[in-house]
């Protein structure tokens, strides 16, 4: 196996943390997004969508979505379970992992990529260029703020996102909340549940990698 990573980017951090929590040891290839290494061969042939993370599986297949990499590694190494144990737990991990990506990650990415100079004509990932849409940046920021409130409410109901057990949904959400710093979105003062959870998550050794 081989893990194509980028140390400063939010999505590969999810996989890095998942691998560490599983106690797996997978060779890493660092891809330098700043120099555009992801847009050129040889990486572009490995992943035509030009994104990280990518996992090269034992079978030699390249998985390019975090949710697929999570699933593959969970099946190979079931302990500790990070995608839930009972049917309901598994469903709730899938639910919160998905919500955090769609309502959190994409919202912040919209806010960032549609304004920052470094993303001019690169408002989306992928091989095709798209112009920035400033109105979308404002909407993304507002959606991200709403999602932080959703997270705070949820974490008032349970210790972790999917229930009283640590899961991949927490890993994904930590990466998303920290990604907020890229658009200067901090956890608001009143979001005490989110702050409590963020402090706990950030203290895990896997969060520091």
């Amino acid at each position: 196996m081989k893990f194509y990573d980028c140390q400063f980017a939010p999505s590969p951090r999810r996989v890095r943390m998942f691998i560490a929590e599983k106690g797996l040891d997978i060779p890493v290839v660092e891809i330098d997004l700043r120099s555009g290494e992801h847009m050129k061969d040889p990486f572009r042939t490995i992943n035509p969508q030009c994104t990280v993370p990518v996992l090269e599986t034992k079978e030699g297949h390249h998985l390019t979505e975090t949710v697929a990499i999570y699933r593959y590694l969970e099946e190979l190494q079931p302990n500790p379970p990070l995608l839930g144990s009972t049917p309901l737990e598994k469903a709730l991990v899938a639910e919160w992992d998905h919500r955090t990506e769609v309502e959190g990650f994409y919202a912040i990415a919209e806010a960032l990529r549609n304004t920052a100079k470094g993303f001019k004509d690169r408002a989306t990932t992928g091989p095709e260029n798209f112009a920035q849409i400033p109105d979308l940046a404002a909407r993304g920021r507002r959606r991200a703020e709403l999602f932080f409130k959703t997270l705070d409410d949820r974490l008032g109901e349970s210790r972790y996102l999917a229930g009283d057990f640590f899961s991949a949904a927490d890993i994904s959400t930590l990466a998303v909340v920290d990604f907020g710093a890229w658009i200067k979105l901090e956890i608001p003062e009143g979001h005490k549940n989110l702050k409590r959870w963020h402090d706990e998550l950030s203290a895990r050794p896997s969060a520091k990698l």
Copy 2:
């Protein structure tokens, strides 16, 4: 269990088809999106995100993301498997199901909701109103066209999306391709693989429900 459905909407169709392929019999509650039933109580208390599908589980929990509903039902009723059998198959189903939602469904939804009069100030789902962004509609349409090409390329490599076995990724993608009609996006003439797959999928009894 209880399944909150809406006959004409693309996302609940995924769950309807999944349930049929599993041979499950789950009581259905039809929610009328046209009259705004999803924005008002009692449904709004059931799902504060105001979206369908929703599955009320045996434990009385309301799952609101299709990916979570798929996972829950697969665990309850493993046969026939619709989320893959081997670790790699499971990962590839997760990968293509996710891609079809993000690159296909959201792209078409962007194109539709940011222009159609019926979605004025309702450019996203959810309880909060957002103004339409016409530039985003154009971008969504272009992204959807690119994804149809991605699907055609992929279906030139294998019979179904995740490999040579029918899966939930096919169910989701059928709903997405047919959702294209809402923005007058047809399968282009040259996309013979996608056409072949679409004909085969559309002939399944579960596709007609």
